[in-house]
Symmetry: C2
Subunit: 442 residues, 2 copies
């Protein structure tokens, strides 16, 4: 894991923008990118509320509809049309209020038209700040936008706001969005464990819960926090980092059923066999060219049935886990808001091509502060689960992992309810009048 | 739906037990049966706390380990060894604290040995009250036990405590356990709907969430509450009561994607095709001989891909939905506790072969009270979702369904948390010393 000492040389990231800081206030652009989370809107809330508190220096906040696609298509939303209550409600609303997109800018050399279009749109709407809320792919997009100043002479400050349930961004201690999915997974496997334990005598003996995490096992690892003493669920965790060893896995399942009467397993969607092939490769790919996975839960469950003959059940949490604002981590919500707020503050301090990060200053009691990292150190990097977070047998988490993970799920931050359902806000998303007549196709 | 007017002739259910009510207090037997729920332990809490408040008339409460199996094997737990704090904590702990079982007594004629064994165990432990907490199958077991008095001359009062996520018991307005799974499903599809809506422009357009409900579509219907205005998720519900019509389904999916940009679907595990075959028949059966289902979510998702070409995601909630105490319905928790409490009160009033039921006295504001039904009217009956709860096109719920369902998910009843995880109790479950040397095999 990247620790805080490696992060941040803020002074060197100050923007070399050509306009003066005391000139007429520019507008800001904010957009959400990649897979959404339970708390990405809390970051949006942090960005927008902080901009509103600095009206003298940032005029309007325009949001891109569907991420960077909104900028390319000049499809902008005027967040100024939203009441402060609506913006405040973003803090407890999951998913992407302005629409998110899986869309990655090409290299400047390969598609200068994209960049010229961005400048055209930014210029038309007097945009001087670019806040991009996403994961590794969008950090790369944000970095490219930040280079418009130098490369094309358009004065803009691009700040990346970290977000990803995958927790795989480098330099930051953790990624907003992860703590809440971690909490969902830990709570869910604890609850399912109680269920299976109580039925195991005459019914299901093995329960498999599939969770997200294509390449890094952070989410699967989080399930491990629920196991606090011997016999607690989950008994086994299958990580993408550890090649699936059928014999070892089956032996451990049998051991658990013998010792505890049942076995609860958390399996990452990204588990691969010894040849590096996903156990559940659906054969399709997403817009970034990543393989679309799904269904490793039933694959592993069937294996248990075939090899050991135990009755099984399986669950695939899929989007439920990353949308589960109802069980969000309070720490996560606070951090998501804080990085949104910090992004604006960094912009106001003159930074460009940076990302606010979470710096942990103490494990217990858990303390953290906001730091800053350079985007060129962040973009296109994946922070894998360290090997020493996984036990020697490859089937559970270590005390070190537990120390890292445990604080991230702390605290509850319940949304308001009406008639038994959480009240999530849907914004008006009033469009900004288009100023360009030139069409653009993404 | 069976309404309250058909329920309860309490006076006729008074037990004709041979002992006097003022004789030396008998012990009580309590056990949990069938699939567990988020609130079955709240009923246990209601039973045990109410017995403790009536120590002069009910001496000890012994719990059967793993349902009726515990009685047959003389595998009893002395709940008297648990602190009042531990018993109180049952109210917020999901699953079955004493173990549950899928085990159905045979007819007396086919297996008199089973019944003789029960009497042997009850006699050995001076048990005069039998509280059995379960669904339709266990109501049948409870009825059989209640007949021991007349058939074999053993004085016992058997009271059934209703519980089932399936909501398919007759006479009671709803079944404890259902309200919480209903809330889980409604909250989850609302959250996933927000997620998919925000990504649909460039990513997943159709999301399928599979929920429980083998024969009755109550749980799937509950998802419908989340859709409060046009365009809200879920857009489609697939019920076991409505034969799956591929063309109609695909046409509606396409309509939704066109109108709203995406489509969120709740599908019941029990959906069948026109020939009556489960869409997801795994070919295996459970201990009651019911087909083991699972995986209709991916089947429907694949269909969407093949017929319409939309990018899809699917989730299978499985045990997570019925174990999700963290998002339990307050109404459900209160009703679960109330039926446990009422069961003891009915016993103390001299009843036998009855079940406390929930009687709705008003939809809005929602009001309910406890009534009583005779077990012979309850056992082995399934209350199906009425056709007029389902829209004419078979793909959503009606206003009438909404009126019935909405109150059942009202209110939150959060468990206590420590370090970000819900604190659920694991009882000591101290065994009662065996008094019988005769072995028995179940």
């Amino acid at each position: 894991m990247t620790r805080t000492k490696t992060a941040a040389k803020p002074r060197k990231t100050k923007a070399k923008v050509t306009r003066k800081l005391d000139s007429k206030p520019k507008n800001a652009f904010y957009a959400q990118s990649g897979g959404v989370t339970a708390v990405i809107n809390a970051s949006a809330c942090g960005v927008i509320e902080t901009c509103r508190q600095n009206r003298g220096r940032i005029a309007k906040v325009y949001a891109g509809r569907n991420g960077i696609v909104g900028a390319l298509l000049e499809d902008l939303v005027d967040t100024g049309k939203e009441s402060s209550a609506a913006i405040r409600a973003l803090r407890h609303t999951p998913a992407g209020a302005f629409g998110s997109a899986r869309y990655k800018l090409k290299k400047y050399e390969d598609s200068p038209a994209q960049y010229e279009r961005l400048i055209e749109v930014f210029k038309a709407h007097d945009i001087g700040y670019f806040f991009y809320n996403g994961g590794g792919d969008s950090a790369d997009t944000c970095l490219k936008v930040s280079q418009l100043s130098q490369k094309l002479g358009y004065p803009i400050q691009a700040i990346h706001v970290p977000k990803t349930v995958d927790n795989d961004l480098p330099l930051t201690d953790c990624c907003p969005g992860f703590g809440s999915v971690a909490k969902y997974v830990a709570v869910s496997i604890r609850e399912a464990g109680f269920d299976v334990a109580s039925m195991a005598k005459t019914s299901t003996k093995v329960f498999i819960m599939e969770v997200m995490g294509r390449h890094a096992g952070w989410i699967a690892a989080a399930g491990g926090i629920a196991a606090q003493k011997a016999g607690d669920a989950p008994h086994i965790i299958l990580f993408p980092e550890i090649p699936f060893d059928e014999q070892r896995f089956c032996a451990r399942v049998k051991e658990c059923v013998t010792a505890y009467g049942y076995c609860a397993v958390v399996v990452s969607e990204g588990v691969r066999n010894a040849e590096g092939k996903f156990l559940a490769d659906a054969g399709t790919k997403d817009a970034f060219g990543h393989a679309q996975l799904g269904g490793v839960g039933p694959v592993v469950a069937q294996l248990v049935k075939d090899r050991l003959g135990y009755k099984y059940h399986w669950a695939v949490a899929d989007y439920l886990q990353r949308a589960a604002r109802h069980i969000a981590s309070k720490v996560d919500v606070e951090q998501a808001y804080a990085v949104g707020r910090a992004a604006v503050q960094l912009a106001l301090q003159g930074h460009n091509a940076v990302m606010p990060i979470i710096q942990r200053t103490s494990d217990q009691p858990y303390r953290w502060k906001i730091g800053v990292a350079r985007l060129e150190d962040v973009a296109n990097q994946e922070k894998m689960l360290p090997r020493d977070f996984i036990t020697a047998d490859g089937l559970h988490i270590t005390a070190k992992a537990r120390r890292y993970l445990a604080p991230l799920i702390k605290g509850e931050d319940y949304p308001p309810y009406k008639d038994g359902l959480p009240v999530y806000v849907t914004l008006k998303n009033a469009p900004v009048r288009r100023k360009l007549s030139t069409p653009f196709v993404v």
